[in-house]
């Protein structure tokens, strides 16, 4: 596990550098099971930084925002680097952003943190109920020790960690300038059993499920906004000319919105699960993403966010690609 004092030291050191503008990391949240992502400018603020299983947000989502901030008239653009702390899964977002030329590699300083898993707020709520105090936690290969306002309780990993952590294949960052702790051993694999199970249903059953889920959607676009891969200047979903989806939150527009969102992540989703985490109405968004992830892997032997040199999936092809459904 990462030594937090070392982490703060490192952050302060990086922020003191002349060529560094900001650092993105986590600090303790006001209450509850999730830390707050934070952007700090000054070495003196580094004291607030933390890393523990409450650091669930993907800081890579903020890089593109920070990078392209509008420059007030008469001022020069600040082209100094942005430092960012990432877990293994978060780092895949950076890899994919680099594949998509979102910024240059030397514009970011990646501080990698090997991670043993982070807390799922929903699972935690089931165990602890609503929590109004600050929470910290420790995780090892077997258990998670959760400290709720001084009260420490130890729970099973599977009962509290995010599902993505239970099947994590990349606990260690894939891209970094510096690792803030020793690499950890991989503990899981991913057979996509959930996808297979869902596929076993009939079209009617599937639609019945989605009809219910999509009907709940209030189109707050949180899932889009939090996604580290969604940083188009202008999103087709909210574009007016042409208008692909209307703004009404009926089943028709909602379904199309969700198909569009999932489609635009085909071969790009790095499975940080942020979309599903932030959904205020608990739509299992990853069920769509994971289907595509699995198919992309099986059909095209492709995995996004693992190789900076990779060609984008849908901007490449193989003459031998499968085509069994084509007449």
């Amino acid at each position: 596990m990462v030594d937090e004092s070392k982490l703060r030291e490192k952050a302060a050191e990086v922020l003191a550098r002349e060529d560094v503008r900001r650092l993105i990391g986590w600090k303790r949240g006001t209450y509850g099971f999730e830390a707050a992502p934070c952007v700090i400018k000054d070495a003196s603020e580094a004291e607030a930084l933390i890393f523990d299983p409450t650091c669930v947000q993907n800081p890579a989502s903020f890089i593109t925002l920070e990078e392209k901030k509008p420059v007030p008239r008469g001022q020069e653009a600040d082209t100094r680097k942005i430092a960012v702390m990432v877990k293994g899964c978060d780092s895949r977002a950076i890899v994919q952003q680099l594949v998509e030329k979102a910024y240059d590699r030397d514009h970011v300083i990646v501080l990698g943190i090997p991670c043993l898993g982070v807390i799922d707020r929903r699972k935690a709520a089931a165990l602890f109920g609503d929590v109004a105090s600050q929470v910290s936690a420790k995780v090892d290969a077997e258990k998670v020790a959760v400290d709720v306002g001084g009260d420490v309780k130890t729970v099973d990993r599977k009962d509290i960690l995010m599902d993505k952590c239970l099947r994590c294949r990349y606990p260690n960052p894939l891209v970094y300038d510096e690792l803030l702790a020793d690499e950890v051993e991989k503990w899981a694999g991913d057979e996509f059993a959930d996808v297979g199970e869902f596929e076993g249903q009939s079209p009617e059953e599937k639609w019945a499920f989605w009809e219910e889920q999509f009907s709940k959607c209030i189109r707050c676009y949180s899932c889009r906004n939090v996604c580290p891969m969604c940083y188009c200047v202008e999103c087709v979903v909210t574009k007016l000319q042409p208008q692909w989806t209307r703004r009404a939150t009926d089943i028709s527009e909602n379904t199309v919105y969700h198909i569009q969102r999932a489609w635009h992540l085909a071969g790009r989703c790095i499975e940080c699960m942020e979309c599903q985490r932030v959904c205020p109405v608990d739509i299992p968004i990853m069920t769509l993403n994971r289907k595509l992830t699995r198919d992309v892997k099986e059909m095209f032997e492709y995995e996004p966010g693992v190789d900076v040199e990779a060609q984008p999936l849908l901007a490449s092809y193989n003459p031998q690609d499968p085509e069994d459904f084509i007449m």
Binding site: R246, V256, H258, I259, Q260, L288, I326, M327
Partner: protein, 144 residues
């Protein structure tokens, strides 16, 4: 509406160089086929944004068809290869949402395959008939 009287509506996207020409050939050779298919001409199957197809289903089409040149024959060399990847995936995605897989069809029809075009139309219509009217996320028309 009973299955017999249901006549599905199909929107087809055909590439200008092979499939649209194949459909033209079906015409010149007076090959009769079902009138359910309405064609939109694009320059290349690689042009067809997979979201067009979602849009067509939303507008009320009961099935869609994308057709391009056979692999290796694309007028622009590669467009159909990209299309194939995109559609294979979109097909899977829609299936996962519960859309009947028979609604999404893709074919390779060359400029000389007027007869094949007829078969493709027939197949597409049959599958859409089996799937029934597309109601799942059809956009309701509101008459103000």
């Amino acid at each position: 509406m009973s299955a017999e009287e249901f006549e599905p509506n199909i929107v087809a996207f055909l590439c200008n160089w092979c499939s649209y020409a194949g459909a033209d050939l079906a015409g010149t050779s007076r090959t009769q086929y079902l009138p359910n298919v309405k064609i939109i001409r694009v320059m290349c199957s690689g042009r067809v944004n997979p979201l067009f197809l979602v849009n067509a289903l939303q507008q009320g089409a009961d099935g869609v068809l994308i057709s391009g040149c056979h692999p290796g024959d694309c007028h622009y060399m590669e467009g159909n290869y990209y299309a194939r990847r995109r559609y294979t995936l979109m097909h899977k995605l829609l299936e996962h949402v519960g859309v009947d897989p028979g609604r999404v069809n893709m074919s390779w029809v060359s400029a000389s395959e007027g007869a094949k075009f007829k078969d493709v139309v027939e197949d597409t219509v049959t599958k859409a008939k089996e799937a029934g009217p597309m109601e799942q996320f059809r956009r309701r028309r509101i008459n103000w």
